[in-house]
């Protein structure tokens, strides 16, 4: 400071400039020494993107969170989590997924005799259902339909169904033939698929109680899966 001539004069010739958020008082003379102080905004930071406060006393930096609005459970029990990814970005729980697959089949036969026993397997199909999520279990709503066309001569009867469930029976008690007699039956049920795995869901089409020359000439079937990962 000697080179600034601060030794005995009433002011120094060196300028002291206040930086951002700093104040300088005095002129460097013995009677008015420089006093460098932090400004009023010292220590404050700008926040945004979900953060509040500026870091000073009384205004701590906090995440701008919502209050838990649900009465039936607590945030400790049911709240999701927040994570930080490899780039330092905040992330939430995995996104929900919903997929759909349908497999329909129509087979025409040249009048095949309906078997006489109960629930004889005619064909077993499978629907390939993928869980599109590599980390969470999928909940699946499955729906299947079967529609069999029977030709029923007078005095004949025939039944059809799914697996062990006979779901329809037709009998021709009249005196003439009834052709292409059919009904469409359906079942709905649920499945779960482990993370990243594939389920081969079967559909076994059965017929039985064929009497009096009953035949079938067409089997239509649908298999549908509605897959949810929530």
């Amino acid at each position: 400071m000697a080179r600034c001539g601060c030794g005995g004069s009433d002011r120094c010739s060196c300028a002291v400039v206040a930086g951002d958020r700093v104040t300088v008082e005095g002129n460097g003379s013995p009677s008015s020494p420089y006093v460098i102080s932090a400004g009023e905004d010292a220590g404050a930071v700008e926040t945004g993107a979900g953060l509040t406060g500026d870091g000073r006393d009384g205004a701590p930096i906090e995440a701008n969170v919502s209050s838990w609005p649900y009465e039936g459970c607590t945030v400790d029990e049911a709240g999701g989590q927040v994570y930080v990814d490899a780039t330092g970005q905040l992330r939430g729980e995995p996104r929900s997924l919903a997929t759909y697959v349908q497999d329909s089949q129509n087979v025409t036969y040249d009048d095949v005799d309906v078997p006489g026993d109960y629930n004889e397997p005619i064909e077993t199909r499978t629907l390939t259902i993928e869980n599109p999520d590599p980390c969470r279990e999928a909940f699946v709503v499955c729906e299947v339909e079967v529609d069999i066309d029977f030709n029923l001569p007078a005095g004949s009867g025939a039944a059809g169904g799914i697996l062990t469930d006979e779901m329809q029976y037709f009998a021709n008690t009249g005196s003439g033939a009834a052709n292409d007699v059919h009904g469409q039956v359906t079942k709905t049920y649920n499945r779960t698929i482990p993370a990243g795995e594939t389920l081969e869901e079967p559909l076994q089409i059965v017929m039985g109680r064929g009497t009096g020359g009953a035949t079938y000439n067409r089997v239509q079937s649908f298999m549908r899966a509605f897959v949810f990962v929530l």
């Binding site: 697959v101 349908q102 030709n151 003439g176």
Partner: protein, 103 residues
Amino acid sequence: MMKKTIYYRRSDGALGTRTIEQSHGDKVSIPLPDGASELSAEEYTQEAARRAAAAARRAEDAAEAATTEQREAYEALIAAGLPEGPARRISGWRGDPEDEAAS
């Protein structure tokens, strides 16, 4: 939505078509049933029409044979002395005796 359909003739002679629709994935693949031969859509349509016509002919022949049996039963019941009403109900025949006689 992705979709694929195949057409085929099975080894037992049955004619089939199968369609898969799905909301995800890169492609849809459908294997042929064991022993089946693949058909084009046009071949399938022609074969299905041919079989439908054959089935209709069989049904028509069967209906005609059943009508003949009913008429014969009706005539036998009339010959046995039954009145026309009960003979029609029992036989199930609904034809016109005069038309049948004329033919």
